[in-house]
């Protein structure tokens, strides 16, 4: 057999290898419908936001009952993060107060985070209506939405956040 032919055969053999390794498949196919209850990620486009709605007026009571103990009345902070105020504190030389209003670039993040992680002692216990309402209340404390503005899957992604353009990519990003 010529060296060329032999190389050719080896090449064919290597070409087959990937299909051999692909034989190790132990993942169990699952339908998107079955994944849905776990898919709680909400990106800036809001495409995965659930049905439901709420206003700041409705959220005030939710906040007082379920959030104020840790985040303070009107989001002024307590044992846990300050949620309101701090606008203008990011300027050079100042001590920054990074809040939903002064720092967060997307309102969808607020819904995503509160629904999955808050209240701290009972995460995932609130209805979607409550999450919309309490999110509206926190945005209202920051002067971003009106007291009766309805937040839902359509309006929430359109909320314009004051620090929307505050973020830049890391200059030494390897990727």
């Amino acid at each position: 057999m010529s060296t060329h032919k032999r190389l050719g055969l080896i090449a064919v053999w290597f070409a087959l290898l990937p299909s051999l390794t692909q034989a190790q498949q132990f993942g169990q196919p699952i339908s998107p419908a079955d994944v849905a209850p776990w898919d709680i990620s909400i990106g800036p486009d809001g495409a995965t936001l659930p049905p439901g709605h709420g206003t700041a007026a409705q959220g005030e009571a939710v906040y007082a009952a379920k959030c104020a103990a840790c985040h303070g009345e009107k989001g002024t902070g307590g044992p846990a993060d300050v949620l309101a105020g701090g606008r203008g504190s990011l300027t050079t030389g100042k001590t920054p107060s990074k809040t939903v209003g002064s720092y967060w670039p997307y309102a969808t993040t607020l819904f995503d985070y509160v629904r999955r992680a808050m209240p701290f002692t009972a995460p995932k216990s609130m209805t979607d209506d409550e999450v919309y309402a309490v999110s509206a209340y926190i945005l209202n404390l920051n002067g971003i939405v009106g007291i009766d503005d309805v937040l839902d899957a359509q309006s929430l992604p359109r909320v314009s956040m004051p620090n929307r353009n505050g973020f830049v990519r890391f200059p030494r990003d390897p990727g």
């Binding site: 692909q22 190790q24 498949q25 132990f26 993942g27 169990q28 196919p29 699952i30 339908s31 998107p32 994944v35 776990w38 898919d39 709680i40 990620s41 909400i42 990106g43 800036p44 840790c70 307590g78 044992p79 846990a80 990011l90 300027t91 050079t92 001590t95 920054p96 990074k98 939903v100 720092y103 967060w104 670039p105 997307y106 969808t108 993040t109 995503d112 985070y113 999955r116 992680a117 701290f120 002692t121 995460p123 995932k124 620090n163 505050g166 973020f167 830049v168 990519r169 890391f170 200059p171 030494r172 990003d173 390897p174 990727g175």
Partner: protein, 426 residues
């Protein structure tokens, strides 16, 4: 050979204030300083036959524990923000009491956002979905069927050493200051293998990794990293991953900031753009001197730390000491570490101990003759990309000191006349 002999006992200086040539460590030149340790006294008093040599010792244990005399080798746990808020903080590795490159699993640092979930591995599922040909669900048994890989890698919390952003030096020990760095041998399945099985859509650029903790902590990660060296880990230092480190399955992204190495991994969603979760917007972003903030700062850049001497382990008498520490880089391997005993005025290279692995800490050692006077000890690492660990001034000049995260400037210990070490800025 003749030269080597004549060097013996000379302990040649290599930098100011007592830093010796690293050859000293290999050539036994320190013998001269040992004389003060020769004690007088009758042989019987010096070397008594102990009771434990006169009876059989304890029997066997199914799971071994450290000696009862090592009961001070513990992680440091800063108090929670409020009594009810357990599980929200950190447990920090006592680096000054350890040596080598591996952190014992029980001393690996912890940072949790909603405590440590108590996960039954038989109930746990990992799901891969989103922009894939076929969404997949994996049981732990299924994950165990795949070929595995091991690698030694550091994990460093992005907030490690963050206290040094403060205008004044902090009177804290090394665990409190720098103990959010640990290293394990991690074993698991390449994430690329699982993603290829699901069939990644060409439009995909990112994935969202999410944990099964109360906070469902989630981060967006570049797909390129996932396909490169990400590992879905089942084992830590040879045994199953500890609960505080993500049992039964955690993500390892070698070199990336700790928070992205999602613990209790339950879901990976393949997406085109980042989800902008709380922990990649509100937190883990670096506010610069102006109003802008760096976002998606993934690799922990080149850094080093002297772990001995350090606060809490005083020098007892003047003479020879080994300066020892760790150096690491999320961008590659460590090429060089220099040490200084005069606050950075003069430097000499330290010995790097094998193995020198990419994205793993390297143990470095340098000989030092303490003359009993004040000293400021520093270490400075250079990695395989040529990046040199910055001084605190250079670090601050680039980004300011409001960023909290990814603090990697040269750290200093001041040694006073009593031999005590404290954190200073130099």
């Amino acid at each position: 050979m003749a030269k080597r002999k004549s060097d013996r006992g000379l302990a040649e200086p290599a930098a100011g204030n007592g830093i010796l040539s690293r050859r000293t460590l290999f050539e036994g030149a320190i013998a001269a300083t040992a004389s003060s340790m020769t004690a007088a006294g009758a042989a019987a008093e010096l070397l008594p036959v102990q009771a434990y040599m006169q009876s059989p010792g304890a029997g066997f244990a199914t799971y071994g524990q450290p000696s009862r005399f090592e009961d001070k080798v513990l992680r440091v746990i800063p108090p929670p923000p409020a009594p009810g808020l357990l599980g929200i903080g950190t447990a920090r590795t006592p680096l000054h009491l350890l040596d080598g490159m591996i952190t014992p699993s029980g001393l690996h640092f912890e940072r949790s956002h909603s405590g440590i979930p108590d996960i039954d591995p038989d109930q746990h599922r990992l799901v891969i979905h989103g922009l894939v040909r076929q969404p997949l669900m994996f049981t732990l048994d299924a994950l165990h069927r795949y070929p595995m890989q091991s690698r030694i890698a550091f994990i460093e919390c992005a907030g490690n050493s963050g206290a040094l952003n403060a205008p004044q030096p902090q009177p804290l020990g090394i665990a409190a200051l720098h103990g959010l760095l640990s290293c394990s041998e991690w074993t698991g399945v390449r994430l690329a293998t699982l993603l290829e099985e699901a069939g990644v859509d060409p439009a995909a650029r990112w994935l969202i990794a999410e944990g099964a903790d109360g906070a469902s902590m989630s981060r967006s990660i570049p797909l390129a990293k996932a396909m490169d060296d990400a590992l879905v880990c089942l084992y830590q230092n040879g045994e199953r991953v500890r609960p505080s480190n993500g049992y039964p399955v955690r993500l390892l992204l070698p070199g990336f900031e700790g928070n992205t190495n999602v613990k209790w991994l339950r879901r990976i969603k393949v997406v085109a753009t980042p989800t902008m979760s709380k922990d990649e917007t509100s937190k883990y972003t670096i506010l610069l001197k102006d109003e802008k903030a760096w976002q998606f700062v993934f690799p922990m850049e080149v850094k080093s730390l002297i772990t001995r001497p350090a606060p809490g382990i005083a020098l007892t008498s003047r003479g020879f000491y080994e300066i020892s520490g760790l150096a690491w880089s999320g961008n590659g391997s460590i090429r060089q570490v220099d040490v200084s005993a005069d606050g950075g005025q003069s430097w000499a290279p330290a010995v790097l101990q094998e193995p020198i692995l990419p994205k793993a800490p390297v143990r470095f050692r340098a000989p030092w003759q303490w003359n009993g006077g004040p000293a400021v000890l520093q270490s400075r690492a250079t990695d395989s990309t040529g990046m040199v660990q910055p001084t605190r001034a250079a670090f601050a000049a680039e980004r300011g000191l409001r960023g909290i995260y990814h603090y990697n400037a040269i750290a200093s210990w001041r040694i006073d006349e009593k031999g005590e070490a404290t954190n200073v800025y130099a």
